[in-house]
Symmetry: C2
Subunit: 230 residues, 2 copies
DNA sequence: CGAGTTGTCAAGAGATTGTTTGAGTATTGG
DNA sequence: CCAATACTCAAACAATCTCTTGACAACTCG
């Protein structure tokens, strides 16, 4: 066969990319960065690590080509190198969800019980929006909503969940979404709505997947709270 | 935020999947298994490692959910757990090719110079096949061809490349493919054809990607050598 | 400038990983 | 049942990785 040394060198390099994701904290970093760029400080607090350690992990990711950075004053902002990295991370989650024993239980432990929470696919949501029969809730921190959200979605601040959800009309048809499959916000919102007797479903995936699919995205124009069903 | 301990446990588990691919030899194993199932013995020789070491690596992959195995007599055959693993591996290659410095050079070192070798996309090939104006060459070992190939493709045994290619007519419009982007066979065949004055292009990806895309696949019925242009 | 922030670097302890070696287990065929 | 084949297991050592600590560097603002 062809040159073994050359083949080993190539595959070692390819494996480096996987190795970079092969650490729980770095995986969390990539998951956060799939939402958009973040400063080292914010990332450190998101993953519960020291700045020094977080900075080190980010450099490992950068050396593997998964993230890039830019300096802005005294802050350094990291971002995913491209959508491809998001696809890669998404493919990994997919494999884990289907083939790794115990992941489902760990997700339960992290997100709370999920039985009885109905889901809706992207395609179903699109046609529901077209017919105007649905209230879409974006349950992410406001800056993320402003950076891009599903058109017609209303921003619900996760830190003021119970306040803002009180205004949702009892007979509304609600769909909530947040950062992705391992994001707790939408689950919390839906459980809260259910206890009010409101029927709410969860978008199967989150906003990053919506954007990667090339679907329409609205920017800015924060609408705080639920004003109308349209 | 939600429970840090639960989140760490979940992401550690997700990272385990990446860690399993985070070794050059294991990456090679996955790349081979993307072609179809293989015995430990064959895999060991493919990656140039001892049986003991190969067996160990396969178990690491199995524990991460990437591969599964079945016993057949005294042989144990390993395979990818599902197409999802192929997608994951493909996503990794994509990230590496676009964002990792040096990969392009390593690919050159492994596959030989690639300038001057034209490529053709799947869609282009499909319409060329429809209009009947193309000779498609499957440059993989015969067992792999028999296990599944692009309809209308002719099998060319990589070990008897120069013999079999001599029969290709000078004016043929040729497209060659093999195992994937890091497979040398199609490159060799195309260089050989070019030296005969035959115009040949390379299918951008390989057979596994064709099959994963849900495109038609023919099984068995080995046609040895080039008989006709149709 | 000088103090305060933000981020990076370097060194070291402790855990994990990769490979080799040699032994052990399951299955086949004589 | 014995020998051979195909594979797995266990121990052990070197190499690598993770996280902590404390110092250092870049930048901002008063």
């Amino acid at each position: 066969m062809a040159d073994r040394v050359a083949k080993e060198a190539l595959f070692d390099r390819l494996a480096d990319v996987a190795k970079a994701l092969g650490n729980g904290r770095r995986a969390e970093l990539v998951d956060v960065l799939a939402q958009g760029e973040r400063s080292v400080e914010v990332l450190a607090s998101e993953v519960g690590q020291s700045m020094a350690n977080t900075s080190h992990h980010l450099q490992v990711l950068a050396r593997a080509g998964l993230v890039a950075s830019r300096r802005d004053g005294s802050h350094v902002h990291y971002r995913l190198s491209s959508e491809r990295v998001g696809e890669f991370w998404s493919a990994l989650r997919d494999v884990a969800a289907h083939h790794v024993a115990g992941v489902s239980e760990l997700v339960d432990a992290y997100l709370g019980p999920r039985e009885g929470i109905a889901t809706i696919t992207r395609d179903e949501l699109i046609s529901s929006i077209d017919t105007g029969k649905v209230v879409v809730l974006d349950v992410r921190p406001l800056p993320e909503y402003e950076a891009g959200h599903i058109p017609s979605a209303i921003s619900i601040d996760p830190t003021r969940l119970y306040d803002q959800l009180r205004k949702v009309p009892r007979d509304a048809e609600v769909v909530a979404y947040c950062r992705g499959p391992y994001c707790a916000y939408a689950y919390e919102a839906i459980r809260s709505l259910a206890s009010q007797g409101v029927h709410a479903r969860r978008l199967e995936e989150g906003f990053p997947e919506w954007r990667r699919a090339g679907l329409p995205v609205a920017i800015g124009t924060a609408v705080s709270g639920v004003a109308t069903t349209g």
